[in-house]
Subunit: 340 residues, 2 copies
DNA sequence: GGCGCAATGCTCAATTTGAGCATAAGTGAG
DNA sequence: CTCACTTATGCTCAAATTGAGCATTGCGCC
């Protein structure tokens, strides 16, 4: 059946990706959304409450079934989220389609289940419509990713456990392999930290057994533990969140997507704070503004901020024209060096 | 039903993306693969023959149903392709999940159908296993994308039609919008060509009615037409191919994926030819080698080429270590300027 | 009026690009 | 055997981009 070939019957429509053959294996498909906002210089994701394994409830990402009435996946998602959260989705991008990793239930029944994950950026942080939904700082779930105030404490606690994980194998070749991966993802053993490898880090932690979801011990961790290995999420939603963050961190470097998160006018410093929030790194202020200026990403308004300490800042707005002009505008992140 | 919320029933498993709710709307899911090789400095994709609308047959990408026995989407794809083509897949990456755009058939039946597309890179060009399958230069389907020998002729023929398409709307605002898009994607009206916008170009051509698949007139175009708007493909496989090319063109700039297409040892010029084949642009030779050398992407072997015209070249091999060292190694493409 | 605090301007050296020129080392023709 | 031609490889140089830091400007507030 799994034939790499011609479809057995000629298709009865002009378009479509040619899956008519697949009807014999229907699958359950769901949509998951990582809806991101950034206010007060903090990166946030919209979360909902999901019944957990233990009696309590757990954080999760908004998700729902794919219903047939929607013409397109993306438009389905848009309609669904906008209806439920009264949240205008500006930028929407497909993230990844997750298969059923480590799942047993449905497989036995001969059913696949997929979920198509989307990343959405919203400009304003509405009060989260539903009572069950709330905006949460995304570093709550992945605390080791926030380097804005220097090396995160979470990482300090994780590191010895990771080294132990690498050390626990006898085979020197395999151990070497694990150490390499630690260097690559976490910057240990002489490697460098790369802020885009969010998913790889999450998956490594998962593999090393440091992620509670891995053992179905969702209720176990105390608060102290959550500060180290992060707050758990339902299903594999933390993996989805990690995918989203990694993607977004990459994207802001070559596409002006940050502006989807900014209010109509803002100061350069607010913009910087937002970029820093997403990338989890501190940037060099003067160089950041030089970059933005050079790229012509913004235009000045006549207004200045007031009331804040220090000299008032000029308010600027995004120059929509850059979407047409530059082949691939965006930011290159220039990390600020901190002493020690 | 389409609730952005908590699942109604507590899930019976630790992982999975929480789609149990979606069972009520099963969907048909298929896999499509863009399997890429590059030999003799030409970029090729593996194609199969598919029954077309007209009596004849049409090129298409290898595709098949998603069968439940596979543990993971990617592994399912791997197994399936490797079994059928006896082709080792080296690098595999999920591309995109296509919904049923512009489809009517299944929708009425309350069924979605999706296809999950993958990009795979193979090192050697095996003789295409199946009789029905063959390796085709991918510019056969998207001739305007090949700028290696200067501005492609295809583009010259397309351009007036695109301008006409922009001109055909009365509303000046809408016309302006179309012109902007032409500038952005095709570099017309003063814009610059960006080799990564492959999908956007295809979709714009599709919208402008220049793609035969759009009207179900697959059999119509003569050879002359195919040289201009490209050879058609079954279903929306050309869209999938365009997605793959765009993604790959982006990726080679920051990840050393080209080496997945190279034989164990090769010359720097062969490497350059491969990069050029993928990106569709000619590169500056000396600077290319400087870049590769600086990045430490390859190491020299003791062998030289022989038999070719000109001075023998040193054979090099990929330095696997760079996968660990560099945070994000790859190529930055420095286009060669050609007179005129 | 002077202080502290941000915003903004400006400098400067170290790299990194972009573009060529020059030389080396083979093959094939006459 | 030598010349013409071809491709590989080395090297230079100016322009542009980065990375880092110092200096100045305006404001709210003692």
């Amino acid at each position: 059946m799994s034939s790499l070939t011609t479809a057995k019957d000629p298709p009865d429509h002009a378009l479509g990706t040619g899956t008519s053959d697949a009807l014999s294996h229907p699958s359950a498909v769901g949509l998951v959304a990582v809806i991101v906002a950034a206010t007060d210089g903090e990166p946030r994701a919209l979360t909902v409450q999901v019944p957990g394994q233990a009696p309590g409830r757990q954080d999760g990402l908004p998700f729902g079934p794919l219903v047939p009435e929607h013409p397109t996946l993306e438009r389905g998602l848009r309609a669904w989220v906008e209806r439920q959260t009264h949240q205008r989705l500006g930028y929407v991008e497909q993230l990844y389609t997750f298969g059923d990793r480590d799942r047993q239930g449905d497989e036995a029944a001969g059913l696949h289940s997929l979920s198509v994950a989307y990343l959405a950026l919203v400009r304003e942080m509405r009060p989260a419509g539903l009572a069950e939904a709330s905006w949460r700082n995304w570093y709550r779930y992945l605390p080791w990713e926030d380097w804005r105030a220097g090396r995160p404490e979470s990482l300090g606690a994780i590191e010895p456990r990771l080294m132990a994980w690498a050390g626990e194998v006898a085979d020197p070749k395999l151990r070497r392999r694990r150490e390499d991966r630690l260097g690559l993802t976490f910057g240990l053993c002489g490697g460098a930290w790369n802020e885009e490898r969010v998913l790889e880090r999450y998956e490594l932690l998962f593999e090393a057994g440091l992620i509670p979801e891995a053992q179905g011990q969702a209720g176990k961790g105390a608060c102290a533990e959550a500060a180290v290995t992060g707050h758990p999420m339902a299903f594999d939603h933390r993996r989805v969140l990690a995918t989203a963050i990694g993607r977004l961190r990459g994207k802001i470097k070559y596409r002006p997507v940050v502006f989807e998160l900014m209010p109509p006018t803002f100061t350069l410093f607010q913009l910087q704070r937002t970029v820093e929030a997403l990338s989890g790194a501190e940037l060099h202020k003067q160089n950041f503004r030089r970059l933005v200026a050079q790229q012509g990403l913004v235009e000045e308004t006549d207004d200045l901020t007031s009331g804040t300490a220090g000299r008032p800042a000029r308010l600027v707005r995004f120059r929509r024209e850059v979407l047409l002009e530059r082949p691939a505008p965006g930011f290159r992140l220039t990390p600020a060096r901190r002493p020690g």
